[in-house]
């Protein structure tokens, strides 16, 4: 068995059903490289591990462990936990990084319980100080920053998607297979999977540099296309308030806020959104905030760098036209 670096940061990566390494890989390996030597664990469908391992190396993994899910297995989550336990035993890491996604949270939670590790959740950064690894957090909707650290041992840290900007240098491929011991834990079964086909080429909301969001003020599913048009001239992702999601204007995956996605883009445009505290919680750390609302008293204006008090059905088409004209 190969030796692993003294300062190993174990990074749990997942592969989508098509066999491609999932997006958080670059960020997690980038974050890990800043505090130690990134060693990747890739949990992949049978036959896809090698290609994913090459990608992981190109994104900075100094070594990669491949755990291929046994063919025909449909157990929800448990194999990944068993694999991560095995990988941690083998590598004795200084920290374990996991994406703060739905599956990532389940993985980190179970792993932390099984190994008695300290758990830090939704980190926006990781650092190393004289005592070990600490995690940075943005809490209560971005109103506070905090740091957490373990009382001892390697912390398990879930990392907010889109938060880490550091990228690691490519490394030569160096992969090996991990034999996974089945813990025999009971699990649920995944009986089917349906990918949500994004019909547009718009950027994904999580981690987007620009976001244009619509709220209840947009009024209908049809007129929500106006939000999309504005997004397209800016090359932005489309977001929404919970009221817009509840009214069926757009899918839940676009919800920004406390119980939706947290975004921190260069530009956030809020159209027909009042700026309820739960919405602000997911976007107030944006660099520049622009709002259009016909109610001059709407709380969104309290945090907007530029606000237009007016009817979005007049303001937005004019803004789109002006921008198109400038872009030529």
């Amino acid at each position: 068995m190969a030796e692993f670096p003294q300062d190993t940061i174990l990074v749990a990566l997942t592969v989508d059903p098509e066999g491609a390494l999932e997006k958080p890989a670059a960020e997690l390996l980038g974050g890990a490289a800043a505090i130690g030597s990134p060693v990747a664990l890739i949990v992949a469908p049978a036959g896809t591990g090698d290609a994913a391992a090459e990608t992981a190396a190109s994104l900075g993994a100094v070594q990669t462990l491949i755990a291929e899910v046994p063919a025909g297995s449909s157990a929800l989550g448990t194999f990944a936990v068993d694999a991560l336990v095995g990988a941690a035993e083998l590598t004795a890491p200084d920290a374990v990084l996991v994406p703060n996604s739905i599956d990532g949270r389940d993985l980190a939670g179970r792993f932390a319980v099984r190994t008695g590790s300290a758990l830090s959740v939704d980190a926006i950064g990781v650092e190393r100080d004289s005592e070990g690894i600490v995690a940075d957090h943005s809490v209560y909707g971005g109103g506070y920053t905090a740091q957490s650290a373990p009382t001892f041992g390697a912390p398990v840290i879930t990392v907010r998607l889109g938060a880490i900007e550091n990228r690691a240098e490519a490394q030569p491929a160096n992969a090996q297979t991990l034999e996974v011991t089945d813990s025999g834990k009971r699990s649920a079964d995944v009986t089917s999977y349906e990918a949500v086909v994004e019909t547009s080429s718009r950027p994904e909301l999580r981690g987007a540099q620009k976001v244009v969001s619509g709220g209840r003020g947009v009024g209908s599913e049809e007129s929500f296309e106006l939000v999309g048009e504005f997004a397209d001239v800016l090359g932005a992702a489309v977001g929404a308030s919970r009221a817009a999601v509840d009214a069926g204007y757009i899918a839940q995956s676009h919800q920004v806020g406390q119980t939706g996605v947290s975004v921190s883009p260069q530009l956030y445009v809020a159209l027909g959104i009042s700026g309820a505290i739960q919405h602000k919680a997911g976007m107030q750390t944006s660099k520049t905030i622009v709002a259009v609302n016909k109610d001059g008293e709407a709380p969104i204006f309290d945090i907007a760098d530029f606000g237009v008090v007016g009817d979005l059905f007049k303001v937005v088409p004019q803004a789109v036209e002006t921008l198109k004209a400038k872009q030529g």
Binding site: I102, R105, D106, L107, R110, A112, Y144, R186, Y193
Partner: protein, 258 residues
């Protein structure tokens, strides 16, 4: 069927939520405490099943400071049969690891067929407890459900993951967590509020669960520093007099955002 629903008391998100900068803990005096909305929806899932299945027993379980009685009682007023409130001075500032240990021990005392939680709490924002509880209890976890179908031996539903949707199913007993895609909870009515006063309400501490909060054998996560961010300030605001869209465009161009 015996169902445990886990509910949490949280600072009302409509108010100003504050953290104590000395301790890093929620400043409970700064805002009103309410039952977490997602916990109410979790309870609604159980109540909805009970509506059409006689003999369903629903217990609400909460780990919260001693002042949370009224908040937890709301769960009884909505229709749960009894409540278990875990309250202990030693739990002040408990991290996720200790919280999961405590809640798992409380769940073990009852013989539940199903444990229902919210997918993510509005103050902790961790979304970790359901899987942690499942690991402690050696039960399947079925997290992030946007629909729930319950039979007397299985639970299944739709689980939204990044990029798609899964159909998942598990044998009971199991731990599930639900998202806000599930219906809003019913309001407690007058009859419910009166009835709640007579329902069993058990208050227990760490000694009853045989847990030592100071046990050093498992690692804990601690807040080492907390700082408040300066609030954002309002910038320029124009009233649209027919030129607002163009002004907006100019602002974006000037700031190299378009």
């Amino acid at each position: 069927m015996k169902i445990a629903v886990l509910v949490k008391e949280v600072p009302d998100t409509y108010g100003d939520r504050k953290l104590d900068l000395e301790t890093g803990l929620a400043d409970r005096a700064a805002s009103e405490a309410v039952l977490d909305e997602i916990g109410e929806r979790a309870l609604e899932v159980a109540l909805n099943y009970a509506d059409s299945h006689d003999g369903t027993e629903i217990t609400v379980i909460s780990m919260a400071p001693s002042g949370a009685t009224a908040t937890i009682r709301k769960g009884l007023a909505m229709g749960a049969g009894n409540a278990v409130h875990i309250s202990d001075e030693e739990l002040l500032g408990a991290d996720l690891g200790l919280t999961a240990e405590v809640l798992a021990a409380a769940i073990r005392r009852g013989d539940y067929d199903l444990v229902v939680t919210g997918n993510i709490s509005t103050d902790g924002n961790a979304g970790m407890l359901p899987a942690m509880l499942a690991e402690h209890l050696d039960l399947p976890h079925v997290t992030g459900l946007s629909t729930v179908e319950l039979t007397d031996s299985t639970v299944s539903g739709t689980r939204a993951v990044d990029g798609g949707q899964q159909q998942v199913t598990a044998e009971l007993p199991a731990v599930i967590s639900i998202t806000e895609a599930l219906p809003e909870a019913r309001f407690p009515n007058f009859k419910g509020i009166m009835a709640a006063k007579k329902k069993p309400f058990e208050v227990i501490g760490l000694a009853d669960l045989d847990i030592d909060a100071a046990d050093q054998s498992t690692a804990r996560s601690i807040m080492v520093s907390v700082a408040e961010k300066p609030p954002r300030e309002a910038g320029e605001k124009v009233v649209d007099d027919g030129n607002g869209g163009a002004e907006l465009a100019e602002f974006l161009i000037k700031n190299r955002l378009a």
